[in-house]
Symmetry: C2
Subunit: 157 residues, 2 copies
């Protein structure tokens, strides 16, 4: 399904309207789904398609998207909040690999935590509703060659 239509329906389901401003912001996120944009970055990017949009609207819309579990607010330790599309069904938050050498950030969409969450349910009586798993480390290629900023590099900051 067209992701904009899909998101529009999720807005409607909670009695929210997908205003032109909100749609412009959502499109920026979809057009940069590999990135993890900050508020300021979204603000800059959305200005090209909607020049008069205000910064406060970006803050409010991203907060709303969090509430709807469409995006996840993340902190990568660089002093600004970053926003990450959760993906199709929003059920499971994807995992991250972050390279110490070049800052590249790779996503693992597959859910690697299912077994552990079963164990938490059984041994701890804890029912998991969400999770966050990030790995920091070094790609062997980066260790050997140094990262030369290949085109698939998605540095966080």
């Amino acid at each position: 399904m067209n992701p904009i239509v899909n998101i529009s329906q999720q807005f409607a389901a909670q009695n929210y309207k997908l205003t032109p401003q909100r749609e412009a912001i959502v499109k920026v996120l979809l057009d940069n789904e590999k990135d993890h944009l900050s508020v300021e970055e979204v603000y800059m990017l959305v200005k090209t398609s909607y020049p008069h949009l205000g910064l406060a609207t970006v803050y409010r819309t991203l907060e709303l998207l969090c509430e709807l579990h469409i995006v996840e607010k993340m902190d990568f330790g660089d002093g600004v909040a970053r926003y990450d599309l959760r993906g199709d069904d929003h059920a499971h938050m994807h995992h991250h690999l972050i390279c110490n050498v070049c800052g590249r950030l790779e996503e693992i969409k597959e859910d690697w935590l299912h077994d552990l969450e079963l164990r938490l349910e059984q041994e701890y009586g804890f029912n998991v509703t969400d999770h966050r798993l990030d790995f920091k480390g070094t790609y062997n290629t980066c260790k050997r060659n140094g990262c030369k900023g290949e085109k698939d590099c998605q540095a966080v900051s």
Copy 2:
């Protein structure tokens, strides 16, 4: 080994001194190892043992402890950075269970990610140096009874 002596040696190993101010701050962290204190909370607590200690020194010392991998700077989404003792050898960052109902935070010291990290090495050529794993969910006891603030509750904020 006495944890203060241990930490003192780690300071010395990197040519840092464990000044009285730094020691007072480290003791606050050790005396509250179950908590995840913010800078302001450390500042308040350390004032009882060292009334003249300045806020900037708390910031600087916690930053230094991060650099030495003695503590981990964490963001639980409540607007302030919180600091978490990594534990004995600092090698592995422990995991968290956070209850949606009562905010209780439980730590899992055991490393549940070893197998996944082997897989990352082999399938992704990615050598993990650190990780972060937090689960959000609900304790069955909290779901049934509501959390009545039992004595072992360690709410984050």
